[in-house]
Assembly symmetry: C3
């Protein structure tokens, strides 16, 4: 049994979902761990992680718009020191995931056919986001 | 330290929560791992996992109805190629869980008295859903 | 490779977020495990876990108010046997997390600078909440 760990840097481009399945699977491939558990952890509170459909880009646009409607910038918020996009960003992050774990089998993530790994950016401007990857197995 | 892995097939019956605590605990029982960590991962983007109250069926009906209200079928969605129930299904999945991990102690899941494990179906029709179980421990 | 496990008791004070980063890091410090994976699991269905900003208390108040708006006590709920605050509590728990896993590196949680660990109480009255901590690593 062994462990491996790295940090991926994902540059986002404003509100919405950035696919990063490939750099994750590529890193897992190089660790010499066939069976185990991969954990992804995003080190931020205004961006989050999501597993969603990787086929139709309309799904990604609809997801972005839904979260903009449910936690609008014009909400009655106390917290506005970092701009009107910051508090809704925290809420949208709270409604999705800071962490995801995925079983690994035969060196491959157990993702379904249509599942992609996304960083969900909730701030208006592009950001540099850190995602820690931890793999345990043999 | 060792690992075990399997895939459970859960047949759902339209929108709502299907309890599957028993097949999970039954599989864990057979692995000879007393202390460890169990991870459940659903390989779909229009169904999800949820831990919720297992006592009053009204709670399950209220949960189903809440998610139908918050992400209604009649939303202003771009994505409709797979029918009007597909995009709200993706949103309801994004608002709940694709993965759950539960500590195991003395061969038993550390669930609270009132916690049950559910597959949350978000499509209108019954579906065949795959949930991967991964257990690590000793 | 080894494992450790404990249960923390968190006393909440009504609806809102109770920071508990310190007792978690303090317990991890004492386990002699430098690199691994920490899992937190709350054994309840009307309180949840959340990683959120630990800097501005306004963020915590805004989060509490958002979840009170999105799942109000005056919703059209069937389940009311445990009082009008119980069903919205289940919904707010379903929208956040029952479990969180965080990589540990060099004996420290891989939390970002602004990330704190919170128990999110959704019932009106103070409660005694159990959070199981499981650590695996070496």
């Amino acid at each position: 049994m062994k462990q491996a760990r790295t940090t991926l840097i994902i540059i986002t481009t404003g509100p919405g979902l950035t696919l990063f399945t490939r750099p994750v699977t590529s890193w897992v491939d190089g660790q010499g761990i066939g069976d185990g558990l991969l954990t992804l952890f995003i080190r931020h509170t205004s961006a989050s992680l999501l597993i969603q459909e990787n086929a139709d880009p309309d799904v990604l646009a609809d997801l972005r718009d839904f979260f903009a409607r449910i936690a609008p910038k014009a909400g009655p918020y106390r917290h506005d020191a970092e701009g009107p996009d910051d508090m809704p960003a925290h809420i949208r992050a709270a409604l999705t995931q800071t962490q995801l774990s995925i079983p690994v089998s035969g060196g491959r993530l157990d993702l379904g056919t249509w599942q992609g790994l996304y960083v969900f950016e909730h701030r208006d401007r592009p950001q540099r986001r850190e995602v820690v990857l931890h793999l345990i197995g043999d």
